[in-house]
Symmetry: C2
Subunit: 198 residues, 2 copies
Amino acid sequence: MGKGEATRERILYMAARLAAREGLEGLSLAQLADSLGVSKSGLFAHFRSKQELQLETLRAFSTRFIAEVLRPAFAQPRGLPRLRAVFANWTRRTLDRSFPGGCLFMAASIELDDREGPARDFLVQSMRDLLGLLSRTARLAVDEGHLRKDLDCDQFAFEEYGILLGLNHALRLLRDPNAERRARDAFDGLIRASISRS
Amino acid sequence: MGKGEATRERILYMAARLAAREGLEGLSLAQLADSLGVSKSGLFAHFRSKQELQLETLRAFSTRFIAEVLRPAFAQPRGLPRLRAVFANWTRRTLDRSFPGGCLFMAASIELDDREGPARDFLVQSMRDLLGLLSRTARLAVDEGHLRKDLDCDQFAFEEYGILLGLNHALRLLRDPNAERRARDAFDGLIRASISRS
DNA sequence: AAATTAAAAGACCGACCGGTCGTTTTGTCA
DNA sequence: TGACAAAACGACCGGTCGGTCTTTTAATTT
């Protein structure tokens, strides 16, 4: 890996952290450059425009999220263990204080939901993939006989993600010390309702 | 009501709409003034600073939200009818296409969750009140015998709000045509789980 | 209708925005 | 080690930001 590539990764990592706090649009190039101890033009040499920086920031975040949160959970055996591991890992990431701005995807979801452009397109595709992955993970649990046969797995994914959104809200905005327990209880309830007949 | 006051209301209404799209910070005074057909300084005469404008925008939105979404639901008899009416009205408001940026509170929750200041303080208090209101509405349903006696009403409120967050996400970002049904089904499931023994 | 006050306008400020450019430093490899 | 290219730099561009000022216009009030 050349030096340029290494710097580029440093930039994108820091950009994701700052953008989670300030927003993709609110993040300024000067601020990002300062945080990196780099000149603004030196930074800008890596990207053709701020738009491209935003898109690449989302891309890099997505890659890291998959590698650090999702992939480890897939080491668990399919079915309930894997289903729980995905949720647990996601929760742990949300609780992690070393990410001050929280999840970039959740922040960007609100920011980009009414803007058009490549950044939005990428985010939408990523979120569809993510929800699809949650759904398929539930599907496997059905196939394993861990969840009931007539379960609507897309509905399961919708509700699971709703709990994660609620966790993020209770934790970051309200700073509710019970946030983690509330999310865990909600997910347990969702699992329970997905086992027995509705 | 003097003319100044009327203009002030017009400003705060438009500010809430724009801030829901652009964010409280991303909203610029020049843009807001143009949208209102007013000069920037004419607008600014109503507020001592942008911070104050942001705070007053949140305040005005909160007042409108309570009057237009919550208050009508309280015309319903306490218990399940009122509980469902609150959720239904909130859902309807979320679906309303005439609010392009969606709910200002949800957007501001993400934007302000890691910033300190009076705007955040006001938002936190408002959200606590809102969740408290959801919880107490559930409590009344317990008292009426519509929901089971040992229900954790704060947990109920957490899960209900999670569904509303999921609805907002599926609707505005993903533009999922099934979003409303998903939210309705999720809420029905929550009610069902809150009736019978857990 | 005149006098008074409230509301809006317009010109302007320094700071910072995203972005460009020519130059200098630094790493790489023959 | 010397040559070449990649990477970072500092100065600068037009434009917009939040905010201040003085002046003009419009609404009240008597």
